[in-house]
C-alpha cells in the first residue's frame, strides 16, 4: 500500500518533470547555420593586423612525431605573430570525436578544431550549421593551388550535408595516410619472388608463400575495422575507382551488389578460407598482429602507412612498403587520405586568426617541419622523402597515389552507421559466417537506405 503511494507520487513528480523540461537541443538555436559565409574580399589575411588574439585550438595530434611537429609549428607561429597566443588542447582521436558534438553546440567553442571527415562527423556538423565555410579563405590564401583536388574533395560537403566530395570546403588536412602493402624483403628473397607489379602476381605470391609453409598475409581483425584497410586496396582491383568513391562517400548512384564488388568480397573470403590470414584473424587484435609480423610471422601485411615507423623500429631495413598494383582502371588506387582536417566552428570568436593558423600549419615550410619530425606531410611528399628506410617507400607510394593515382575514401565515411555495418560484414565474410553475396546485400542495405534519404 505504502509502496504504491510512493510509486504513484513519484510518477506524478516525474510527469511534472517531463512537462517542465524543454525538448532536447532546443536551448541552442542550432548553431550558426544562418550566418552568411564570408567573402574572399572581407577576409583578413595578415595575422599581425588582428590585434591581441588568444586562439583556442583543439587537436588530436598526440602521437610522437605529430605532437613534435605541431608543438614546433605553434612555437614558430607565436614567434612570428606575437599578438597571437595559441592555447592548445590535445587529446586522443576517440576522446576528441566524442566531445566534438557537445563542444560545438556549447557557447564557448574552440577557434580551430580537428573534425573527422566522415558523414557521421563533419557531415552532421555541416548539416547543423556548426562549421565555417572556408571557401573565401581558400580563395584568399590560394589553398586550391596548394592541394590536389582529390585531397580537398575529402573535406567538401554541400551546405545541406547531402553531397560529400563536392561543394564548399570545411577543413584542411595537414598530414597524409595511405593503405598499402608491407613486405619483408628477406622473406620475398627466400621465396624467390619479386615485389608484385600486378594483382595477379600478388595472388600468385600469396599462393607460393602458402605452399612454402609461410603465412602469406597478416591481419588482426578483432576490432572489426582493420579488415576495411585490406578490403579497400583489394576492392580497387575489381571495381572502378569512380564507383568506389561514390560508394565510399555515400553519394547516390552506385551498388554494392554489383558483380565486381561481390568478386572483391569473394577474393577476401577465399583468402580467409584458405588460411592466408592465419587461423583466426577475427580473434587477433590489430596491435598484436603487427607486433607478430615484426617478429617474423607472415610475408605481407596490408595496412596503413602509420604502422611503418613502429614496425621499422623492430625490422629495420627488412621492412619495405609499396602502393598496391594498378587496379581495375589501370591506375594505382588505394584507400587513403589525410589526417583529420582542421576546421573552424561557426561560432568561433576569432575566425580570421583561426584561418591564418590553419594556413600557417599547412604551408610549405610547415610540411618540411612535419617531414623533419618524422610525420608524413600531405603536400610535397615525394621531395621531402627521407633518404632511406620504410618512410622513403611510404612517402613515394603516397605521392604516386595522391598525384598520379586515386586516393580512395575510407569506406566507413559512407554513412553514419557504415563503420559498423562494414566492420561486421567483413568480419563475417572472413569468418565464413556470411556468403560474399549476402555480405554485399547487407552493405547495400545500409548504403541504399542512407542514399535514398538524401
Amino acid at each position: 500500500m505504502r509502496r504504491r503511494t510512493f510509486l504513484g507520487s513519484s510518477a506524478a513528480v516525474g510527469g511534472l518533470g517531463l512537462l517542465a523540461a524543454c525538448a532536447p537541443g532546443s536551448d541552442t538555436d542550432g548553431g550558426g547555420g544562418d550566418a552568411a559565409a564570408p567573402e574572399a574580399s572581407d577576409v583578413e589575411t595578415d595575422p599581425a593586423a588582428m590585434g591581441e588574439v588568444s586562439l583556442k585550438v583543439w587537436d588530436q595530434e598526440v602521437r610522437g612525431a605529430q605532437n613534435d611537429a605541431i608543438t614546433a609549428l605553434i612555437e614558430a607561429f607565436e614567434q612570428e605573430y606575437p599578438n597571437i597566443t595559441v592555447e592548445r588542447v590535445s587529446q586522443s582521436f576517440d576522446d576528441l570525436q566524442q566531445q566534438t558534438g557537445l563542444a560545438l553546440s556549447g557557447n564557448d567553442v574552440p577557434d580551430v578544431l580537428q573534425v573527422n571527415n566522415a558523414r557521421g562527423d563533419m557531415g552532421e556538423f555541416v548539416k547543423a550549421g556548426q562549421l565555417t565555410d572556408l571557401s573565401a579563405y581558400s580563395e584568399a590564401y590560394g589553398w586550391e593551388d596548394r592541394y590536389s583536388t582529390s585531397v580537398l574533395a575529402k573535406s567538401r560537403y554541400s551546405a545541406d550535408g547531402v553531397t560529400f566530395g563536392d561543394g564548399p570546403l570545411w577543413g584542411l588536412p595537414q598530414t597524409g595516410e595511405v593503405c598499402g602493402i608491407y613486405y619483408s624483403a628477406a622473406k620475398l628473397e627466400a621465396l624467390g619472388a619479386q615485389p608484385p607489379t600486378t594483382w595477379d602476381e600478388l595472388f600468385a605470391l600469396v599462393e607460393a608463400a602458402q605452399e612454402a609453409g609461410e603465412q602469406p598475409l597478416v591481419l588482426g581483425n578483432l576490432e572489426q575495422w582493420p579488415a576495411l584497410h585490406v578490403f579497400g586496396p583489394l576492392q580497387a582491383n575489381f571495381v572502378s575507382t569512380e564507383e568506389i568513391i561514390t560508394l565510399g562517400m555515400g553519394n547516390a548512384g552506385a551498388d554494392w551488389t554489383g558483380d565486381a564488388n561481390v568478386q572483391a568480397l569473394t577474393q577476401l573470403a577465399d583468402w580467409a578460407g584458405s588460411g592466408a590470414f592465419g587461423d583466426s584473424p577475427n580473434g587477433l587484435a590489430y596491435d598484436t598482429a603487427w607486433a607478430e609480423y615484426t617478429e617474423g610471422t607472415g610475408v605481407l601485411l596490408i595496412g596503413g602507412s602509420w604502422l611503418g615507423p613502429d614496425m621499422e623500429a623492430v625490422m629495420g631495413d627488412d621492412l619495405r612498403f609499396m602502393a598496391p598494383p594498378a587496379g581495375a582502371d589501370g591506375t594505382v588506387a588505394t584507400t587513403g587520405g589525410t589526417g583529420l582536417p582542421f576546421a573552424i566552428p561557426a561560432e568561433a570568436a576569432n575566425v580570421d586568426a583561426a584561418a591564418a593558423y590553419i594556413d600557417y600549419i599547412t604551408s610549405d615550410a610547415a610540411m618540411e617541419l612535419i617531414a623533419e619530425k618524422g610525420g608524413m606531410p600531405v603536400l610535397r611528399t615525394a621531395e621531402l622523402a627521407p633518404e632511406s628506410g620504410v618512410n622513403k617507400d611510404i612517402y613515394e607510394a603516397f605521392d604516386a597515389v595522391s598525384t598520379d593515382g586515386v586516393l580512395l575514401p575510407y569506406l566507413d565515411y559512407a554513412t553514419p552507421s557504415f563503420a559498423d555495418t562494414a566492420g561486421a560484414a567483413l568480419q563475417e565474410v572472413i569468418g565464413g559466417q556470411a556468403e560474399p553475396s549476402a555480405a554485399a546485400e547487407t552493405l547495400q542495405a545500409d548504403y541504399g537506405e542512407f542514399t535514398a534519404q538524401g
Binding site: G120, N282, G283, Q427, E428
Partner: protein, 295 residues
C-alpha cells in the same frame, strides 16, 4: 522529569518527509532527473546537438524490428547464466568448502578468489584478451596437451566469443558471491551442524539440509547483484570484442554507447537504456519475489 508532549513540529505529518528531503534532493538531482531526461530523449530523434524532432514512441517500435537490439537482449540473457547462475553455484560450493574445511592458508585462498573484484575491469579485459589471443596462453596450453582441435581465436569465433566473454564474468563474480555466502554461513550456529552430524548426516546432506536453506537470503542478494552486473555489462565487451564478431557479443549497454556516441542517435540510445532499466527492474523484482515467497 515529566515528559513534555511532542511539539507541533514533531507531530506534523510533514516532518518525516523533511528528514528525507536533503537525501531526496541529491537522489533526485543525480538519479531521478537523468532518468527522466533519458525517458524524454527517447521520444525524440536527436543527434546529440542541434535541433530535435518529436517522434513519439517510434524509437521503441523501431527497436522491435532491430536485429542488433534483439541480439543484444538475447546475449544479455545468455550472460545472466555466466554472470549470475554459474557464480552462485560455484560460490556456494566454494563457500561450503571454506566453511567446513580447516585448510591452512584459508585467508590466502579467499583473497585470491576475491581478487578479480578488486582489479579494474579494463585491466581484467586486457588480460583476458591476451589469454584468448590466437597465440595466447589458452591456446598454447591446449596445444601442449594435444587438444589442437579445440584451439581457436576465442574472441573471433562466433560460437565461442560469447561464452568466452561470459566466462570472464563468471571468474569475476565468483569471488563476490563466495564472500557474501560465506558471511551468511558463518551466522549458522554450530549446534545445528553438530545435531545433524549426530543424526548421521554426511557433508552433502548437511549442505542441503542446513547450509542451503540458511543462506537463501544471501543467495537472493547475490543473484540481484550479479544479474544487474550481467545486464549492464559494458567494459568487458567494449574492451574485448567491441560487440563482434558480427554482432555476436553485443549487449544492451554497448548498444547505448554505440548509438549515442558513434551513430549519434541519442533518441534511440535512450530508448535502449530505458528498456534495459525496465528489464533490470523486472527481472530483479521477480528474483526477490521468488526469494521471499519460498522463505
Amino acid at each position: 522529569m515529566s515528559k513534555s508532549p511532542p511539539s507541533a513540529v514533531v507531530r506534523s505529518r510533514v516532518t518525516p518527509y523533511l528528514f528525507i528531503l536533503p537525501a531526496f534532493l541529491v537522489y533526485a538531482a543525480f538519479s531521478l532527473y537523468p532518468l527522466l531526461r533519458a525517458a524524454q530523449f527517447s521520444l525524440y530523434e536527436w543527434p546529440g546537438f542541434g535541433p530535435s524532432t518529436f517522434v513519439g514512441l517510434q524509437n521503441y517500435t523501431d527497436l522491435i524490428g532491430d536485429e542488433n537490439f534483439r541480439a543484444a537482449i538475447g546475449n544479455a540473457l545468455v550472460l545472466i547464466l555466466f554472470y549470475a547462475a554459474l557464480p552462485v553455484v560455484i560460490g556456494l560450493v566454494l563457500a561450503a568448502i571454506f566453511r567446513r574445511g580447516q585448510v591452512r592458508g584459508m585467508g590466502f585462498f579467499r583473497s585470491v578468489i576475491f581478487l578479480p573484484q578488486v582489479i579494474a575491469l579494463v585491466v581484467v579485459a586486457v588480460a583476458w584478451r591476451n589469454i584468448y589471443a590466437p597465440n595466447g596462453p589458452l591456446n598454447q596450453a591446449l596445444r601442449a596437451v594435444g587438444l589442437d582441435e579445440l584451439a581457436r581465436g576465442w574472441l573471433g569465433d562466433p560460437g565461442a566469443a560469447l561464452p568466452a566473454v561470459g566466462f570472464i564474468g563468471t571468474w569475476l563474480e565468483m569471488g563476490l558471491v563466495m564472500l557474501l555466502l560465506l558471511a551468511g554461513m558463518s551466522r549458522i550456529p554450530d549446534d545445528l551442524f553438530e545435531a545433524a552430524r549426530l543424526d548421521g548426516a554426511g557433508p552433502v546432506r548437511e549442505f542441503f539440509a542446513i547450509t542451503l536453506p540458511s543462506v537463501r537470503g544471501e543467495i537472493v542478494v547475490a543473484l540481484v547483484l550479479t544479474i544487474i552486473a550481467a545486464l549492464k555489462t559494458f567494459d568487458l565487451v567494449y574492451m574485448t570484442t567491441s560487440g563482434g564478431p558480427g554482432n555476436a557479443t553485443t549487449v544492451p549497454s554497448y548498444e547505448v554507447y554505440h548509438r549515442a556516441f558513434q551513430l549519434r542517435e541519442v533518441g534511440s540510445a535512450s530508448a535502449v537504456a530505458i528498456v534495459l532499466t525496465v528489464l533490470v527492474f523486472a527481472i530483479n523484482v521477480l528474483v526477490t519475489r521468488i526469494g521471499e515467497r519460498s522463505r
